[in-house]
């Protein structure tokens, strides 16, 4: 029976639940307690000891049915493991002379190749240039500004810290010789990135996800990354990988709707119901990266953004097309969104992403 349960934990691990090996002793103890011969007992023993978030539960149910139902789990449903991260394949820039076969020339010709590259639209880069931009995006450090927290710290100026003053007085026979002071500690705000990964955004998705990775790496516990498309996917966990490429592969495996359509209002609604309203968006700097192409009714999108803007501290919208000459926010969704935004910025090039870091830091 022990082998069976250990095997089940391994299956669950392969299916994507964080059922690490150190949880197995608890599983065995729980199963022994509930009676290992009883299917319901085994079900609850496993569910209570191996799962750790609501998203795990459907995977667990499927894996349990597959493992104990006699069939071998090929690919548990709800988890398209076969999805790999698509390459950002875009036409190489025509008139700029930066082809795939002559990258060396580009770098030798330009006085400061990085400076040229900074302002290039990431949708129009050659493979070599893209690698360089990826490297530079990984160096960005998006971080929010601090706010005053409820916690105090000892300080030179500020209100009198009665506790420390009296404690010091006790050491000196009850004579207070010096007033100890305290001031409020500061803490950074939470940063929430909502990235559109639908078909129309595909040239920019790679750069934006890498930007998300840089943000998570900078402040792992205070940053949340979600992808929007036809549905909402939380990729924060995947983004915690140290290596950007591994992080993007993991995110790619988790996102079921790459290059699909856009239902921004529905995805935002899901975000607000499951995360935002509970507190993830409260007092946070929320950054939505999307071109605003919306399949649904723009009025719904406006409704959801209104809700989001009331929860968030600052609402920033990043639209890659904004950086293009002659762009006007006419797309139905974009026009509907404008009244609720605190900032509306471009995000099409490395320079624009660097500006975005500044916007996030000032927000």
């Amino acid at each position: 029976m022990i082998e069976v349960l250990v095997g089940f934990a391994a299956t669950l691990r392969h299916a994507g639940v964080a059922a690490t090996r150190d949880r197995v002793p608890a599983l065995l103890a729980a199963a022994a307690e509930l009676g290992a011969g009883d299917p319901a007992g085994v079900y609850w023993a496993g569910r209570l000891t191996l799962c750790s978030e609501p998203d795990d539960l459907p995977i667990y149910d499927a894996a349990f049915a597959a493992y104990f139902g006699g069939t071998h789990p090929a690919a548990p449903r709800g988890l398209p493991i076969s999805v790999t991260l698509p390459q950002v394949s875009t036409p190489f820039a025509g008139g700029t002379g930066a082809g795939d076969d002559e990258p060396a020339e580009l770098f030798s010709l330009a006085a400061s190749p990085v400076e040229v590259l900074r302002h290039r639209d990431v949708a129009e880069l050659s493979t070599v240039e893209r690698d360089e931009v990826r490297r530079l995006v990984a160096l960005l450090e998006p971080a929010t500004a601090p706010r005053r927290s409820r916690r105090y710290r000892p300080a030179r100026r500020g209100t009198v810290d009665v506790h420390r003053t009296v404690r010091a007085a006790l050491r000196q026979g009850g004579e207070a010789t010096r007033l100890a002071r305290q001031d409020r500690r500061t803490r950074p705000r939470r940063l929430v990135l909502l990235l559109d990964v639908s078909g129309s955004m595909s040239p920019y998705a790679d750069a934006l996800l890498r930007f998300g990775h840089a943000a998570v790496r900078r402040r792992p516990t205070l940053t949340e990354v979600f992808t929007l498309g036809t549905r909402l996917t939380r990729v924060t966990r995947a983004m915690r990988h140290r290596d950007p490429d591994a992080a993007l592969r993991a995110a790619g495996a988790a996102i079921p709707d790459w290059h699909g359509g856009t239902r921004l209002a529905d995805s935002l609604h899901a975000f607000l119901d499951r995360w935002g309203q509970r507190g993830t968006a409260r007092g946070a700097v929320v950054v939505v990266c999307s071109d605003g192409w919306e399949f649904g009714d723009p009025a719904d999108l406006a409704g959801q953004l209104h809700r989001l803007s009331r929860l968030a501290y600052r609402l920033v919208w990043v639209n890659p097309h904004r950086g293009k000459p002659g762009y006007e926010p006419l797309a139905g969704g974009m026009a509907a969104a404008l009244p609720f935004l605190d900032e509306f910025v471009a995000g099409h090039s490395l320079a624009a992403l660097q500006d975005l870091v500044g916007v996030i830091a000032r927000a």
């Binding site: 009850g174 803490r187 509970r278 507190g279």
Partner: protein, 306 residues
């Protein structure tokens, strides 16, 4: 004084019987005796938490009865309940213990006024006496036995606090520099709740049993309403449960939990309603829905029509 040896110094007796739990079904029955109707999953989770002495980590929508479960569990197992409400900025002085400095100061003054040359060692020992130590929830939980420790809304505390809590829960002991180590003979049964405003660290979750608390089904909700409000008619309870279940399907900003349907039923019965008619329902909607958009939506949807 026994506390210098590191033993606990208060041995208050637990209220009434000390509960012996033999099966999930028996625990469910004991919980029902206190007015809390748990489903199979929650009863199993509680049973395992008692038997394996592992903390229980509860998540679920607001108002599904996570906090009430801890209270019922304490009552059902005959244990004390100690509640630690988490909030941002919660630190050791508010969660663990604190010295009552003003009283220590008064003591010092009183002793020096009465005796010209007090013995310094005795004076210092007297200063760090138990009566000057203020026990905050975590210390209380180690002292009171048996005890259910409810750590409510852990996600609201800073993440530094989690690591600290983890340490206290793992050792079931704390060390106070002036006093020594204080350990609980029976570790407190910890129930942690979270509303998922942020993700709680894996290290903490890994040491807990995890359970997601669902909204109750129709029959269980009716039973809960009738248990909580004995004066409620069966018909009204059924209608309230039906309406609440329909509202949960309506895609509201804040779907009503059991707590809200209990409030609503209480409001209706306070108005003397015996059945749910659209007029009374509309008048009392504020007890169950907390957003203007939700109220508009429910009014427009016809959920309240019989």
């Amino acid at each position: 004084m026994t506390w210098r040896t590191g033993r606990t110094w208060t041995t208050r007796r637990a209220p009434e019987h000390s509960g012996q739990v033999d099966s999930p079904a028996q625990l469910a029955q004991a919980l029902a005796g206190t007015g809390y109707l748990a489903d199979a999953g929650l009863a199993t989770a509680g049973y395992l938490a008692v038997r394996l002495r592992r903390p229980l980590f509860l998540e679920g929508e607001a108002g599904v009865g996570k906090t009430a479960f801890a209270q019922a569990l304490a009552e059902a197992t005959g244990a004390h309940l100690v509640r630690l409400q988490c909030y941002e900025g919660l630190d050791a002085a508010q969660a663990l213990y604190d010295w009552d400095f003003p009283r220590q100061m008064l003591h010092l003054r009183a002793v020096t006024a009465a005796q010209a040359h007090p013995d310094p060692a005795a004076l210092e020992a007297g200063l760090y006496d138990r009566r000057f130590l203020i026990a905050r929830p975590l210390l209380q939980a180690l002292e009171l036995q048996p005890c259910v420790l409810l750590v409510d809304e852990i996600d609201r505390a800073d993440d530094e606090f989690e690591a600290f809590l983890l340490e206290v829960l793992a050792d079931a002991a704390i060390t106070i520099p002036e006093v020594g180590r204080i350990a609980a003979d029976t570790p407190p049964l910890a129930v942690l709740t979270s509303n998922r405003t942020r993700e709680v660290h894996d290290a903490l979750k890994r040491r807990c049993l995890y359970h997601w608390v669902e909204h109750p089904g129709f029959e269980r909700e009716v039973a809960i309403l009738r248990r909580r409000l004995p004066r409620l008619t069966g018909e009204l309870a059924g209608q309230v449960a039906t309406a609440a279940a329909r509202m949960r399907k309506l895609d509201l900003i804040k779907p009503p939990g059991v707590a809200e349907s209990i409030d609503w039923a209480a409001a209706l019965s306070a108005l003397g309603a015996r059945t749910l008619d659209p007029q009374t329902a509309a008048a009392t909607l504020g007890a169950v829905l907390k957003y203007r958009e939700d109220i508009d939506r429910v009014r427009g949807s016809g959920v309240l029509e019989p």
